[in-house]
């Protein structure tokens, strides 16, 4: 398709590639951790974990998975995301693996560390 699918500048396209490549990498490398997190989310309905300067909050709300990335500093941007909950448990886990990775790279270019320095709250 030749129409303007995306209006990103070359610099923004580089950043987009970095974010999505990192998300794909996390989905593979952190799969075990994400499966554990999925089990926690199904059991409790919500949980939080500190990831660098951001507190990542996850919850099940109605028919959606929801995440919020809240900065430690009031001078930082905050982010959130939502995805529908699939019907089967297998699909739910696969959805959550992508969902957790997306939440961790959500503010990648703005200083959210992804060094594994995290703790559950």
């Amino acid at each position: 398709m030749n129409i303007d699918e995306s209006f990103l500048t070359p610099a923004q396209q580089i950043r987009e590639l970095e974010v999505m490549t990192e998300c794909f990498r996390l989905m593979q490398v952190e799969r075990s951790r994400y499966e554990l997190q999925a089990a926690i989310l199904f059991e409790r309905g919500s949980f939080s974990r500190q990831n660098g300067n951001y507190l990542l909050k996850y919850k099940i709300k109605d028919d959606r998975f929801v995440w919020h990335a809240l900065p430690a500093s009031a001078t930082e941007n905050s982010y959130s995301g939502e995805a529908p909950i699939p019907k089967s448990r297998t699909e739910q886990i696969e959805q959550l693996i992508e969902f957790f990775a997306q939440s961790e790279v959500g503010s990648m270019s703005e200083g959210m560390p992804r060094d594994g320095s995290s703790r559950y709250v």
């Binding site: 398709m1 699918e5 941007n77 995301g81 696969e94 959500g106």
Partner: protein, 155 residues
């Protein structure tokens, strides 16, 4: 007969909804309004595909205002069309801290979903925002992608 009536009713409802959304889109992009949102056509990230062999469908959006804006919240939703109803795929919200000058824009380029198969699916994006401008909250109504794009990407 009953099925035909239900089908006609659903089609009529979808047309009304589409028209309403179209009007909102035109309003949000009007130069008379203090803010403007633009959202891209849903597309496959080609660079990601080339680099990793993985495909993902994506929409990008930004908001720009004629006056300084603060506390900007820009929401971007990715949807796919269905036989009767459209289906929500993923959404993200960026809440921007501080004041954004008229020269700058608030961007949300983080709304994407990885393809699970090659099933042809039509995707589109919706974006909307709110911001604190000139002492009051301003809302930019829903803007739809200009084209609903069929892509070989099942999600």
């Amino acid at each position: 007969m009953k099925t035909q009536k239900i089908s006609a009713l659903i089609t009529a409802l979808l047309l009304v909804i589409t028209t309403l959304i179209g009007n909102h889109s035109a309003e949000a992009q009007s130069s008379k309004l203090p803010c403007r949102i633009e959202i891209s056509i849903a597309h496959i990230s080609k660079d990601l595909w080339i680099k990793t062999g993985k495909r993902a469908v994506k929409v990008d959006a930004f908001s720009r205002c004629q006056s300084p804006q603060s506390k900007v919240t820009l929401t971007v939703e990715l949807w796919k069309t269905g036989e009767f109803l459209n289906h929500f795929v993923y959404s993200t919200v960026k809440r921007s801290f501080g004041i954004t000058s008229p020269r700058d824009q608030v961007e949300n380029f983080d709304t994407y979903a990885f393809c699970k198969n090659r099933e042809t699916t039509s995707y589109y994006g919706i974006a909307y925002s709110k911001a604190f401008i000139d002492g009051k909250w301003q809302y930019a109504r829903h803007v739809l992608s200009r084209i609903i794009n069929p892509i070989d990407c099942g999600t």
